[in-house]
Every structure is written in structure tokens, then in C-alpha cells.
């Protein structure tokens, strides 16, 4: 999809806890914006499963866009 729009992405595939890893990469990579998706979990879902997007949005030291 990105190629179709003329955007050449850099691909990173680190291992680890998804939320903490995305937060760390966002900080270390000095990115201007981080875009994450949201599964639309309710309160109970977020408590039981955790929310990567919520973690990143509240802890990353950069602008975070949560796409729904």
C-alpha cells in the first residue's frame, strides 16, 4: 500500500513486549509522529487484555495518533 502511494517505508522488526518496544523505538528513533491502530476495546477489555495503543499514547514522548 505504501509503495502504491510512492512511500518507501523502513521496516523494523524488533522482539519484545509490543507496547514497551513501540514506546522505546518511538523515543530512540526521534520520530515526529507515531501512528497506532485501536481495537476499540472497552474498559474491561483494556484491563484484561491491555491496550498497546493506550500505553503508547500515554507514555511515548512524541505525538501519537490513534487511528480508528
Amino acid at each position: 500500500m505504501l509503495h502504491e502511494l510512492g512511500v518507501e517505508p523502513e521496516l523494523l522488526q524488533p522482539a519484545g513486549d509490543p507496547a514497551a518496544t513501540i514506546e522505546r523505538i518511538a523515543t530512540e528513533g526521534q520520530f515526529d509522529v507515531v501512528v497506532v491502530g485501536s481495537r476499540g476495546l472497552g474498559l474491561l477489555g483494556r484491563v484484561l487484555q491491555g491496550s498497546v495503543s493506550e500505553h503508547v499514547a500515554t507514555r511515548a514522548e512524541t505525538t501519537v495518533i490513534v487511528a480508528r
Binding site: M1, L2, L5, G6, V7, E8, P9, E10, L11, L12, Q13, P14, A15, G16, D17, P18, T21, I22, I25, G29, F31, D32, V33, V34, V35, V36, G37, S38, R39, G40, V52, S53, V56, I65, A67, R68
Partner: protein, 48 residues
């Protein structure tokens, strides 16, 4: 942008692509391989 292959991630990918085009920005796609203590890493792209 963070990507795990799911529907929300595809929406995030579209959003990132639109922003990149509008602002002539670069995009880095981060796909984290979940690591759980005591278990081998599972590539999210592997079949279950």
C-alpha cells in the same frame, strides 16, 4: 507506525500513508515480534 497485520493496524497504515504523502515524510513500519517469558518468540506473520 506500529503494525501487526490486524484491521486496526491496516487503518493506521492508511493514516500514516496519507500523512506521509501530505507532508513529504518518511515512514518506518514497526512490527514487534511478541516475546513472552518462557516461550519462543512468535512471529505475528506466522500461521497459528
Amino acid at each position: 507506525m506500529a503494525y501487526d497485520g490486524g484491521t486496526p493496524a491496516r487503518k493506521a497504515l492508511e493514516t500514516a500513508a496519507e500523512l506521509a504523502k501530505k507532508f513529504d515524510a518518511s515512514v518506518a513500519v514497526v512490527s514487534v515480534v511478541p516475546v513472552h517469558p518462557g516461550r519462543a518468540p512468535i512471529d505475528p506473520w506466522d500461521d497459528p
